[in-house]
Symmetry: C2
Subunit: 195 residues, 2 copies
């Protein structure tokens, strides 16, 4: 019998660079399935259903949500997003590892439903560093940055709920560390088929 | 305050190649202290006290042993060998990781005294593979190989007492996996200094 796949959850405060780490990580490997989110928002012209997102209308989303079919869900600017449990579960059952990149609130929801997942917290070197990144993005007004600063401090307090902490002070190093965590977790005795 | 070091225990059946993995691992890195054994055997001409071994007479060894100053000890061909606890402990206290390469009986003794260590089982791809390696070594009579075969099967049963299993079917791959385990363990939340 082949082993069950491992769920890797890549998470951290907004602006910490977890999306870039995920992209760099997946560029070199095809042995891990990225989780695909469901959403009620309209597809952009270049987005494909079942590849970029599972697109669905609000009624379908709410029905699935009420049936507990999402590992986590959230509403962002009146659009709903969720992680379909069956997509993750069917990959794990086939022995395929799954990578889920998600914010901290989402990760904490996933942890309740799949505590056996491997939870990786991407941390800024310091909170100040994160603020300077958010400023450089230039998307945000001063007020929203102050709000984010408070929110970031609050988010940092969840670090201890994670299995691993990877400090993103150097992108290549951070990617290597996440790769090492994936390789090491696959060597965990409970993930090895004993003869 | 700096973090406490991590004790990595590299172990596995006799002939599995754990010594070669250790040598390859240490060739490229100086961020881990190899554990130095105490022994009652006579130093060879090129061996240095405190580098290759801590050489001592039988009386000193037995005294230390009776005081519980070894993490593990064993007698091999009337010579005694042991892992001095203070050497390991003082490195860990300084925040330096320690690597201990040892047979399975020794590892199980260490686990009793330092269960917080990271225990890595180096496994042959199959028991048959290990036998063929032992035969190729040519050091052993047929009888001793048969004995070792029984002993190896028995040793394999300890695999589930370890945190990680690394299958040594390719030396470079096995070294990379042990390196990944070291990197990943250093990212464990409990080994990170939270601000």
């Amino acid at each position: 019998m082949s082993r069950r796949g491992i769920l890797f959850v890549l998470s951290g405060p907004s602006g910490v660079g977890k999306g870039t780490i995920r992209e760099n990580l997946l560029a070199d490997r095809n042995d891990i399935q990225v989780s695909i989110s469901a959403t009620t928002r309209t597809p952009r012209i270049d987005e494909l259903d079942g590849v970029d997102y599972f697109f669905m209308d609000k009624a379908s989303f709410l029905l699935k949500q009420s049936r507990g079919e999402f590992l986590e869900s959230a509403t962002v600017y009146s659009n709903m997003y969720g992680t379909p449990r069956d997509f993750v579960e069917s990959n794990l059952l086939k022995g395929r590892d799954v990578l889920l990149e998600i914010d901290i609130q989402g990760a904490m929801q996933v942890k309740e439903k799949m505590p056996e997942g491997v939870f990786i917290f991407i941390s800024p070197p310091t909170v100040d560093d994160l603020l300077s990144r958010l400023c450089k993005r230039g998307k945000d007004s001063v007020e929203s940055i102050e709000e984010r600063m408070a929110s970031c401090r609050q988010e940092m307090s969840y670090m201890s709920d994670y299995d691993y902490v990877v400090i993103n002070d150097d992108l290549d190093e951070a990617v290597k560390k996440v790769e090492a965590i994936i390789i090491a977790e696959r060597c965990k005795t409970r993930n090895i088929n004993l003869e």
